[in-house]
Structure formats: C-alpha cells, structure tokens
Amino acid sequence: MMWISLLIALVLSLAALAYVVWPLLKPGPAPILVEEDRLTELLGRKDTIMKAIKDLEFDYHVGKLSDEDFQLYDQRLRRQAVGLLQQIEQVAPMGAGLDAALEAEVTRRRRVQEPGKRPIQPATVALAAAPVVAAPAVAAPVAVTQGAERYTAGETTNGGGGVRFCTNCGHKLDTSHKFCANCGMPAAA
C-alpha cells in the first residue's frame, strides 16, 4: 500500500517536473527577449499624456478649471506630447504612418502656439488618435515588444481594403473611423 502511494506521488511529481523543465529541453539556443526599453517607455509616457489631456478637458467641461488654467496646462501637455512623438520618431524612424501623425502634430503645434488662441477641439482628436496611426512604425522593427504589441492592435484596421481620405482636409482615414481624426469632419460612406 505504502509503495503504491509512493509510486503515485512519484509519477505525479515527475509529470509536474517534466512540464516545468520542458521549455528548457527544446533544442537550440534560448531566444533572448529583445525589447526596445526606450521605445516602450516613450510610448507609455505618451499614453499617460494623452490620458492627462482627456482628464484635463473633462475637468474643464465640468467647471473644475478656469479658462486660463485650462489653456496653460493644455498647451503644456500638448508640447510634451509633441516632444514625445518626436522622440518616438527618433527611436523608431521607419514607417510612413508615424510621419503622417507627426505632420499632424506639427500642424497642430503651430496652431497651439499661436498666441492668445484656444486650441481647437478636433485637433485634440487627432492627438488622441495618434497612437493608432503611429502603430505600424513601431511594430515593424521590434519583434518581441509588449509595448509595441499593445499599439499594433489598432494598426490592423489600417491595412487591407481601399484607403480612404477625408473629403475636407485630405487626411488619411482609418477604416473604422466615422470622423476624420484631423478635422472632425464626418467620414464619407
């Protein structure tokens, strides 16, 4: 009886152990996890800034911020976002999508920096939509990047099918977008 229990326990233990060491027994050298730390960090920071901009706008809408404070912090956040986009472009320069996003950012930055003028809301949408456009750029060069994986999720909607452009400003449209990310114009069916 004792031997049978020992045998069962041994079989179970060996099965568990084999399962654990199995990945180590696969032939060939172990692949090293290549992750663009700098890129992931930049993407994370950009994501945070995007959320901060949304929160700021929400606070402004419900009356928690004065006009002056809103303009001050909104511009500050936008400058940070543009700076981050530029850094992302430097780290992962390949891909036309990012160029397009950056152009949109530069355009808006010019608008934002015009003295005494409030930023225009549709421009915010362009900023918010930027990671979706920027995705192909970061997905290509990095093979095993969780940060990039997160961003490539939106990218698949970009590929395949006919490419659409906004009838108002000519901005390239994502297939799932019902509004232009640049000017806010409803997308033509």
């Binding site: 233990s13 654990v20 180590l24 090293i32 996890l33 994370g44 009356g63 911020l65 912090y73 918010a128």
Partner: protein, 664 residues
C-alpha cells in the same frame, strides 16, 4: 495510504516552486525566454499540485478520516457537511494550505492573463509569487503538516471550534484570505518593475486592477467580520480594535493609500518611491498579520518561541525587509519624479494629504497593536492599549479623511482657481450646513454634528459629480439620464465606480457615528410576560424554547417588540448554542430587528430554573444597517471601477464624446 501522497505532493510543489523562483529571477535577468517559459510552467504546476493536496485534505475532512491529526482536531462525525468543508481553514495547518491554495490560484491566473504581455516583467513577477508560495510550502512541509498522522484511528474527532460554526465564519475568512493573498500580486509587479528597471507607468496601469480586486475582497472580508462580531459575539458592537482585526485592517489602510497614490503617479509621474514603498508595506503587513494571528506573539512575547511557525515567519519578514530596502536603494536614481506638484489647491495635493492620513492611521494602529509587545520587551510589564486609544487617535483622522473624500473630487488636476473653487464647493457646503443645523436641532452634541455634516458634504460632492458628469454626457449625445449614467460607469468606471465606493464609505461612517454617539443599552432580568422599555420600544419576554441540532442544542428566548403606540413591530429570538463537544463554550446569536433608523439588538445572557427568569442585554443601535448597505455599495463600486472595458473601439467610433465624459 492516500494522505502520504498529499504530503509528498507538497514536497514536490516546494521543489518546483524553488526551481521556478530561480528560473523566474535568472530568466528575467538574462531575458532568457526558455527560463521565462519554465517559470510560467512552474506557476501552473505548483497551482495544480497544491490544489491536489487541498483536495486530499478535503477528502479527509468530508470522509471523517480521523487518523489525520488535523481532521481529528478540527472535525467530528456529527459536524454538518458545510462546516466539514470549511474546517479546511479552521486550524493552523489547514489554513496555511488554504493560503497557499489561493496564492497559487492567483499566481496561475496572473501568469495566464499576462502570458503574452509585459514579457520583461513577468519572469520576475512569477519569481516573487513563487517565492511567497515557497515560503508557505516550507511551513507546510517542515512546521505545519496538514497530513500528519495521529498514530491510531480515533472513533470520532474533537469537533470544530464552536465560534467557527457559523455561516459568516465560513465565508468571511475566504473573503479575507482572497484579499490578503491577492495583495501579493501588486507587490510582485512592483518588484518586477524594480528588478527589470522598467519603472514607467506600465506596471502601475497593470497593477491597478490587480489591487482593486483583492482590495474589494479585503474590504468585504473586514465588513463581514464586523457583521459576524455584531451578530454572533453579542457585545453590541462590530469592531473592537483587537489584534486580529487590526491585522486585517493594516494592509487595507496601506492598500487603500496605494490605490489612491498610483493615480497621481499615472497622472503626474510623481510619488514613484512612495508607491513602491506603500505596496511593499502592504505585503509586509499581510505577512506580519498572518504571523501575528498565528504565532500568539500578541498574546505574549514569549509564545512565538514555542510556536512552530514563528521563527520561519521572522526569517521571511527579515528577508522581505532587507531585500526590499536593498532593491529600493539600488533603483533609487530611476525613481525620480517626472514633474512637481503645481499647487496646494489641486487634486494631487488632496491625494497626497489623503496618503499622509492613511499612513498616520496605519502607524497609530500598528503602534497600538504592537504596544503590548514593545512594553513587555522594554519594561517587563505588558501594557495593552484598548479601543479608547484607537478611537481617540484614529477617529479625528478618519473624519479628516471623510472631509478629503469630499474635497478631493471637487478640485481639478494641477490647480483650482478661486472662481472654479466657488462653483464646485457651493452646493456641498450648503448641504453640509443644512445637515449640521438639522443634527443640532435633533441632538445637540458637537462631534456628531461635525461628523454628519462632513458625511453630508462628501455625499453632496458625489451627487454633484454624477450630475455634472451626466450633464456633460448629455451635451454630446441623446442619452437619457439613466443611459448617460450607464455610459459614465462603462466608459469611466474608474472615476464613477470610485465615487460609489466613496459613498459606501460615507454610509459606513454614518453608521459608526450613529453607534458611537447614540447607542442606548440596558441589562435586565425578566420572567415570562414581563416587559422592559428602552429607546421608545417595549420588549416583552414570552418564553424560553430549545431545539436539538446534530451536534448542539439551541436555546432561544422569544421576545416580542412593541413600538411607542404598543403595536407589535416584530419578534426577536436571541439564542445560546451549547455544543456537545464544548459544553463550556456556549456561543451566542443575537436577536435582531433591523431597520434603516435603528436596530433592536437583544442578547441572551443566561437563565435560571429552566427559563423562569432570563437575563438579557438590550441595545438600541442607531443607523447600523447603513454599514452593511455601505459595504454592498463599496463592493459594487469596486467592481465597476475594476471592470475591463474597451477604450480603443469606442474612441475610434465617437472621439468627440470621449473627452466630454473624461473617458479613460
């Protein structure tokens, strides 16, 4: 013998956990994907083996295998099946196995959910989770073997502790354990972030949900524990600040502070050091709490020397303390804040103050809990601090926290101007003033006036936030009020679920204030048909009755409750249960008539001559029901806050509405 398999399985799990720790840390350091994959498999294998061991112990309990020491000591043939099942966590070895079971379950879920994400962090996360499992497996294998034999086969067991034979005590420890054990997960992510030097917001975002869920379980566990104390212990209250209660409350305090402060890190990139320290403190307090409630260290400083598990805990706590300090100091330069806090009239400043208050309450509670031990070490005399100390120190701090709970949401990030200040604060302040006047008219007592006015202020803040959120949503859509509210929950559950949690806490605060300042009590001995008056009620003792259950005899005193107009409002039956295996440990079950205004709470103390006279303690507890309603709201709010929702899809379809409701 089948139970030998259980012990051998625990040994295998221990070996595999040790291997998994090494594979996780080394694989993470070398970024070696084979070792990383092996650490994942180790997590799953340990979970499977521990589940098997727990199943074997359950088999022993349900099958009355009294040859096992644990079953003999914590069960009996006549014990209802329900309690045989829960006896797994009724004793030392079983509850350690249960701890390990929940931890390995959590670990497996975390590993599976992140199997393709956070690839740099995850091997370390697996390593930390397995290291904690390894510690508990070490206890099970070397110090508290649940499969230990008696050496003969006793005819019957000694029975489960009568206090644990209660349905609250079946579910309450499970909730508490789920909360306690779950707090290991955010700590594992924090260590993973520190070790991998990946200290951006990625781990903070991931960890938020993994903190909310255990926090919810811990909160429910604490509230259920209070409810058990209130309904079963029969001393008229729900919280006594005893060491075991404090052991669960301490990680709740630091965990709550952490949940708030990670929001500032996410928003502003500040408090990075403080956040990792907070989650480490939470983890440390979880292990410390498990240690103190098991080793008897708080009953006497000498008892842990006699305890088998005490030294193991001390070694582990030392490793956690110094290991973390080393890690923190080596990563300190990487934890610089990205920005500064701009203004004192900003939400982040309110969050910071909230953190100080939580830290202050945690420190006072820790000090009060361990004071008897310190005093015995230093002076030789054991001096205990009781509930009045905790109430005096923590009461005002909690009141300030409630105030901040009202103030914080009204402030904007970064800075709130005077005009915005006026716009935000007007209605909550008017509400608070009206309630203060009302309470002053009804009952002129300073502290409840301040307390209830602050509760009203916080409630008005929450209502105002909802109203403005719904209005903002309705300006950009055709939604009616209800669907606009649903939208707020589904798209910004974090903020609006959080407000529900706040409302739950406010209700708990109202119940505490009601009980603390307006409770009435009396002791009385009555013969059948005699009455007593208290707080506008008349209570008439009808008769004493008894009922035989499988392993106990239940004695109940039927008491009829009349209101001011002599209308019967209900019948309550306070009980005493006398257990066959522990006749000198009768348990109490209070007779309770609950209402939103006040509870009539009757305790059966004893009787003479078969019920010719019966002694009762009667309490009138105002507003207590709101504590349980508050608990439910808290759980609901946390679920809304933690509920995953797709932001990308919605952002793509209707971007213009996204910022109008502050979607995240």
């Amino acid at each position: 013998m089948i139970f030998d398999i259980g012990y051998l399985i625990l040994i295998s799990a221990l070996v595999i956990a040790a291997f998994g720790v090494a594979a996780g840390f080394w694989g993470g350091h070398k970024r070696n994907t084979k070792l990383a994959a092996s650490s994942f498999n180790a997590v799953y294998a340990v979970a499977g083996l521990v589940l098997l061991a727990a199943a074997l112990l359950w088999y022993g309990l349900l099958g009355d295998h009294f040859e096992l020491s644990y079953v003999w000591n914590h069960s009996e043939r006549a014990l209802p099946t329900f309690y045989k099942f829960s006896a797994l966590w009724g004793g030392q070895a079983g509850s350690l196995l249960f701890w390990c079971l929940l931890l390995s379950g959590y670990s497996a879920i975390v590993a599976f959910a992140n199997r393709t994400r956070l690839q740099v962090l995850m091997p370390y996360v697996n390593g930390v989770l397995l290291a904690t499992s390894l510690f508990f497996l070490t206890l099970l294998v070397f110090a508290a073997n649940p499969f230990e034999r008696v050496g003969f086969v006793p005819p019957d067991g000694q029975g489960l502790n009568p206090l644990l034979q209660n349905y609250w005590m079946v579910i309450h420890p499970v909730m508490l354990y789920l909360g306690y054990v779950g707090m290991v997960v955010p700590f594992a992510f924090a260590v993973g972030a520190l070790m991998s030097k990946r200290l951006d917001n990625e781990w903070v975002r991931t960890v938020r949900r993994w903190t909310l869920i255990p926090w919810m379980f811990l909160s429910i566990g604490i509230i259920m524990g209070s409810q058990w104390a209130y309904m079963e212990l029969g001393w008229g209250g729900y919280w006594a600040w005893d060491p075991v209660e404090n052991a669960s409350f301490l990680p709740w305090l630091t965990g709550t502070a952490f949940l708030h402060s990670i929001i500032i890190q996410e928003q502003r990139g500040v408090l990075k050091v403080w956040n990792v320290v907070l989650i480490w403190m939470t983890y440390f307090l979880v292990i410390l709490g498990t240690f103190t409630t098991r080793s008897g260290v708080l009953e006497s400083v000498h008892s842990f020397a006699r305890s088998d598990v005490g030294p193991y805990f001390l070694v582990f706590l030392t490793i956690i303390l110094f290991g973390f300090l080393w890690l923190l100091s080596s990563r300190f330069p990487l934890l610089r804040g990205d920005q500064q806090i701009d203004s004192y009239t900003s939400r982040e400043a309110a969050f910071l103050a909230n953190n100080w208050l939580f830290a202050g309450i945690a420190f006072a509670t820790l000090w009060g809990t361990f004071f008897p031990m310190f005093s015995e070490i230093l002076t030789g005399d054991r001096i205990s601090v009781a509930a009045p100390f905790f109430n005096k120190v923590n009461g005002p701090l909690f009141l300030l926290l409630l105030l901040l709970m009202g103030v914080g949401p009204l402030l904007g990030w970064r800075h709130t101007s005077a005009a915005a200040f006026r716009k935000q604060f007007t209605w909550p302040l008017i509400t608070a003033a009206v309630v203060a006047v009302l309470v002053f008219v009804l009952a002129r007592s300073l502290y409840p006036i301040i307390g209830l006015a602050i509760c009203a202020f916080a409630t008005a803040t929450i209502v105002q936030e909802y109203v403005r959120g719904v209005q903002a949503r309705r300006t950009t859509s055709d939604d009616n009020v209800l669907s606009a509210m649903g939208h707020l929950w589904s798209r910004n559950g974090r903020r609006y679920g959080g407000y529900l949690v706040h409302l739950g806490i406010v209700l708990i605060g109202v119940a505490v204030i009601g009980n603390e300042f307006y409770q009435q009590t009396t002791n009385v001995t009555l013969a059948p048909n005699q009455t007593v008056q208290i707080g506008g009620y008349t209570l008439e003792f009808d008769r004493l009755e008894s009922d035989r259950q499988s392993n106990l005899t239940e004695y109940g005193a039927r008491v009829i409750v009349y209101d001011r107009n002599d209308n019967v409002v209900g019948t309550v039956i306070p009980k005493r249960n006398v257990y066959d295996k522990a006749p000198d440990m009768p348990t109490s079950e209070v007779g309770l008539r609950m209402s939103p205004i006040e509870d009539v709470y009757v305790v059966l103390n004893g009787w003479e001559a078969g019920g010719a006279t019966v002694t009762f303690t009667i309490y009138i507890n105002p507003l207590t029901a709101w504590m349980w309603v508050g608990g439910l709201l808290l759980a609901l709010g946390t679920l809304i806050a933690a509920w995953p929702h797709s932001t990308r899809r919605a952002a793509a379809t209707l971007p213009s509405a996204a910022y109008a409701t502050g979607d995240d």
